[in-house]
Homo-oligomer: 226 residues x 2
């Protein structure tokens, strides 16, 4: 995995140097994998007809490849088969509340993946890719729900993006100004964590009879993601 | 507010037509305002030296303008003072679990804002913009924490982006296949909601003495955002 920094280096101020302690780029592949595994929605950036678009969309990760479908795939294919995209997955873990406004920040885990997506045309890979997408958001659902018909499979655009070029940034922990003169101000400082959790299943009002939710959905209720 | 669709029209399949029932673009300014008010992190897309970047960053919204700072502002300024950006704010509200894999989806609220950000150089607007950014994430914190010094203010790049050109998409409700032949399969279908809530405050270990968290932070603990 490469750490990509395509912009010119940012000027180093006291602030950026300080932040490096707790806000870091990671070259660890395990960090990338963990960020991708912890989510199912990304922000997919692509330029279409000269217009930059950043679209939220679901993804599936199979270890070395991300899969995308739907309008994101369609638009990216419209853009050009050689268009470079940037896909970003972000988890927000909390607010970093420092003594000074200037040192305020956010605890987060974020991965950016760069590359040129490949249209998936092979029916077997398309099947596997859609399975991967479905299972990323809802493990167990691919085998429970009705799987795609041949017609549905043909109607689905699927894109594959290699994980070869990726950048990870993570910030954890307390504010950075606990050892500065601001610490003498007598102000409270710390972190307000942000958590995400699954709620209670809401049955489709169109359901008839006594159809119970399957275990793989029922056991997810109330589970906290971070 | 304009609904921008810079790509060619997508082909209309049974699926996209069906989804229109519950997944819709909105031309309602109140929807845009509500989506922006409900969050504090966006994904900021900009092309820098030919490389498309999608970066998570905090924002502040004052009603007609979004404000950004930090490395996003620096990189965008490096890109060019005339670079067009796309800023997307997304809230994920739940998984839409249909009878068929093909009809699975996500309930979400998303706003895309397009435009050319303007560097903020006027000290008064910079002050107001930073206040807006701080208060977006943590109401009450601007008056509690130490406000920026003149040096800090000078070291901060701030960008302003007009809300004039924006696109909103929202999906709510149950799956779309309750009135299709798949409804006869006897499968459970519905929504698994995703909620976000603030956790318990974590005091900076560097805090000395008996400094209590201020009310505007303490009363936020346990509060659910969606």
């Amino acid at each position: 995995m490469n750490q990509l920094d395509p912009s010119r280096p940012l000027s180093q101020t006291d602030r950026t140097r300080h932040h490096r302690l707790r806000e870091q780029g990671s070259f660890n592949r395990a960090d990338l994998d963990a960020i991708l595994a912890a989510g199912f929605v990304c922000h997919f950036g692509v330029t279409v007809d000269g217009n930059l678009l950043v679209m939220p969309t679901v993804y599936g990760s199979d270890g070395n490849t991300l899969y995308f479908h739907g309008s994101v795939a369609s638009r990216s294919l419209v853009a050009s088969p050689t268009a470079t995209v940037c896909v970003t997955v972000t988890h927000i873990d909390g607010l970093v509340l420092a003594r000074s406004v200037f040192e305020h920040g956010v605890n987060y885990r974020s991965a950016m993946i760069f590359g040129t997506p490949r249209p998936v045309t092979d029916p077997d890979e398309k099947w596997a890719g859609l399975r991967c997408l479905t299972e990323q958001a809802t493990p167990g659902q691919w085998d429970y729900a009705r799987q795609p018909s041949r017609k549905e499979l043909a109607a689905t655009s699927l894109l594959a993006l290699s994980l070869d070029e990726a950048s990870v940034k993570i910030r954890t922990g307390a504010p950075d100004d606990g050892d500065t003169p601001d610490a003498e101000l007598g102000l409270w400082a710390g972190v307000l964590p942000l958590h995400t959790h699954w709620g209670d299943l809401q049955a489709d009002p169109a359901l008839t009879g006594d159809i119970k939710a399957p275990l793989h959905l029922a056991e997810r209720q109330g589970v906290t993601l971070n």
